[in-house]
């Protein structure tokens, strides 16, 4: 079970020697069922990014920027893969120098002993699966997190600046947070007892907060909010949301790192929360606007997927229903009201959907992990766990916000974050890539 939870009784992890994976590998036996599932789950999570997120986001931008968004998703996939091999996996998951309950330098970031995947062989294991599969599975999470931020700065960021931002953000924000939550005994937030089964904090709050910061630093699109900027192809968005929904079973059920009861329960609660959030968003929208919209139900589903992510290994079906419903209702208001009220141009609502649903989910994971509320998290108390979750959320928001501002300001001073006004008007597809998505006149 991949998790940082001391309180959750991650017995397998606790029994392992405290140091390297290599030692852990030698004592566990490979399970072909677990391995088959994790091979599949890794592919499902990659599918969430390309083409899932690429279509979900691509449909919501104007036609002249479709390719730029898809290019950003695709290029980040390639870029992060290379960085992951060179140093990413090591900085995130090396357990060098870590000791349970002791806070030190390596509670924040892993060592470089696994750089270039040093020591990895076909016989290396992570628990019951080949370590190569675990490297691949975790890579797909590292890819989708910076991809989620694309939605916040879409339609105006320079491609070169986008690549630098993604690389630096991955290095300074994603890798430390992933290490602090998921690297096991001795990790900062793991030792605190923060529950984050599949990445509500590491992936969604982290990316959502960075998205808010990014759209504030880079500034509004020219003409926003007075100029019409409607989505150009909501059909793509629905296909993308559907691929995200499907792929999310790899994300959440795969986070059990085994084909077992925990994976099965994670799959079920993911389905429940997603449906509840889609219904929650749509019900509020129908009441407020007298219409049930396609973009609304797709957005609601994504909010539910995000919200159940940290809870997927610990909540029961009833908890999932309530977590999903809460996320759908709350995100309707944060995605349709908040940014106009506060005046920030988060193009595709990365903050309003991902950060907010992430926070709702991360907090509710606490109480709904308790047996008294139908959970399986073995937590001491529902409200005590809520407070622990809040500390994890607060820490992640602060870390992501501060470092994202620093990275973006640095890049703005050096490279420049934005395309110029003429290029923005022309659209990034032509201005940055000299290509067009649609050529319907010929």
């Amino acid at each position: 079970m991949r998790s940082s939870r001391l309180l959750a009784g991650a017995a397998a992890l606790a029994l392992l020697p405290l140091s390297a994976f290599a030692q852990a590998a030698s004592v566990t036996k490979l399970d072909s069922g677990d391995t088959a599932w994790m091979l599949t789950a890794s592919m499902l999570v990659l599918m969430m990014t390309i083409p899932g997120a690429a279509l979900f986001y691509g449909g919501m931008v104007r036609a002249k920027n479709l390719l730029s968004v898809m290019m950003q998703c695709f290029a980040i996939t390639a870029l992060i893969t290379v960085l992951w091999i060179v140093y990413g996996y090591s900085l995130a998951f090396s357990t060098e120098g870590m000791h349970a309950g002791i806070t030190g330098w390596h509670s924040f970031i892993g060592g470089l002993d696994r750089a270039m995947l040093a020591g990895l062989t076909p016989d290396s294991r992570y628990q019951t699966v080949p370590e190569s599969v675990y490297v691949m599975f975790q890579l797909t999470f590292a890819i989708i997190t910076p991809v989620l931020i694309v939605g916040a700065y879409a339609e105006r960021m320079r491609f070169a600046a986008m690549l630098w931002f993604s690389a630096l953000w991955f290095t300074l924000v994603y890798l430390p947070i992933a290490h602090m939550v998921w690297s096991g005994p001795g990790s900062l937030l793991g030792d605190l007892g923060v529950l984050d089964f599949a990445g509500g904090t590491v992936v969604h709050i982290n990316a959502g907060v960075a998205g808010l910061v990014a759209c504030l630093v880079i500034g509004k699109r020219r003409g926003w909010p007075h100029t019409h900027m409607p989505p150009h192809n909501l059909g793509y968005t629905v296909i993308g949301a559907s691929l995200l929904w499907l792929g999310w079973f790899g994300f959440n059920a795969g986070s059990a790192v085994a084909a077992n009861g925990s994976a099965g329960m994670a799959m079920l609660v993911t389905q429940i929360a997603t449906a509840a959030a889609a219904i929650g968003w749509t019900a509020v929208e129908w009441t407020v606007h007298k219409r049930a919209s396609v973009l609304g139900i797709a957005s609601g589903a994504v909010a539910g997927l995000v919200a159940v992510t940290p809870a997927a290994g610990t909540c029961g079906p009833g908890g999932a229903l309530l977590i999903g419903l809460a996320a759908g209702v709350i995100c309707f208001f944060t995605a349709t009201r908040l940014k106009y009220r506060l005046g920030y141009d988060d193009t595709l609502d990365v903050f309003g959907v991902h950060a907010i649903a992430g926070i709702v989910g991360a907090l509710l994971t606490g109480p709904f992990a308790a047996a008294s509320l139908g959970g399986f998290g073995h937590v001491a108390s529902a409200w005590g766990q809520l407070w622990i979750q809040a500390k994890g959320v607060g820490f992640t928001i602060a870390w992501s916000a501060l470092l994202s501002v620093a990275i973006l300001k640095l890049l703005d001073r050096t490279l420049g974050l934005r395309v110029d006004a003429e290029q923005e008007q022309m659209g990034l597809d032509l201005a940055e890539h000299e290509e067009r998505a649609y050529d319907l006149q010929r």
């Binding site: 019409h228 900027m229 409607p230 919209s293 609304g296 106009y340």
Partner: protein
């Protein structure tokens, strides 16, 4: 000779064309256009962003008729394009000075 320009609802085109043919009109030009009169456009709402779409799709029919045909042509258009609801369109009539068929160089009534 008269020049008729009619703005109609797109779904009425076939009926209007048939009625005009029965009234003895041999040709016309049809263009897809957008505009507004008393009929208001519609609104679209995407995650709280409301867009008012003012211009509605219509068809513009243009045809040249003889003075004798004018009344029948107008009756044909009004009789078929009318639904009784706001947005049925308008007919504009103006005097036409000269018509020339390019192939034969016939003029005026012979060219209609």
């Amino acid at each position: 000779m008269q020049w008729i320009t009619a703005i109609i609802k797109p779904f009425k085109l076939d009926e209007v064309r048939e009625a005009l043919a029965e009234a003895g009109v041999h040709g016309m030009t049809v263009t897809e256009v957008k505009g507004f009169g008393r009929q208001h456009g519609h609104t679209e709402l995407y995650r709280g962003a409301e867009y008012v779409v003012d211009f509605l799709p219509k068809l513009k029919i243009e045809l040249a008729v003889s003075d004798e045909q004018l009344e029948h042509a107008i009756e044909a258009i009004v009789g078929t394009a009318r639904t009784g609801k706001v947005g049925d369109g308008k007919i504009f009539v103006s005097a036409l000075e000269q018509v020339i068929r390019i192939r034969t160089q016939e003029v005026d009534a012979d060219a209609l």
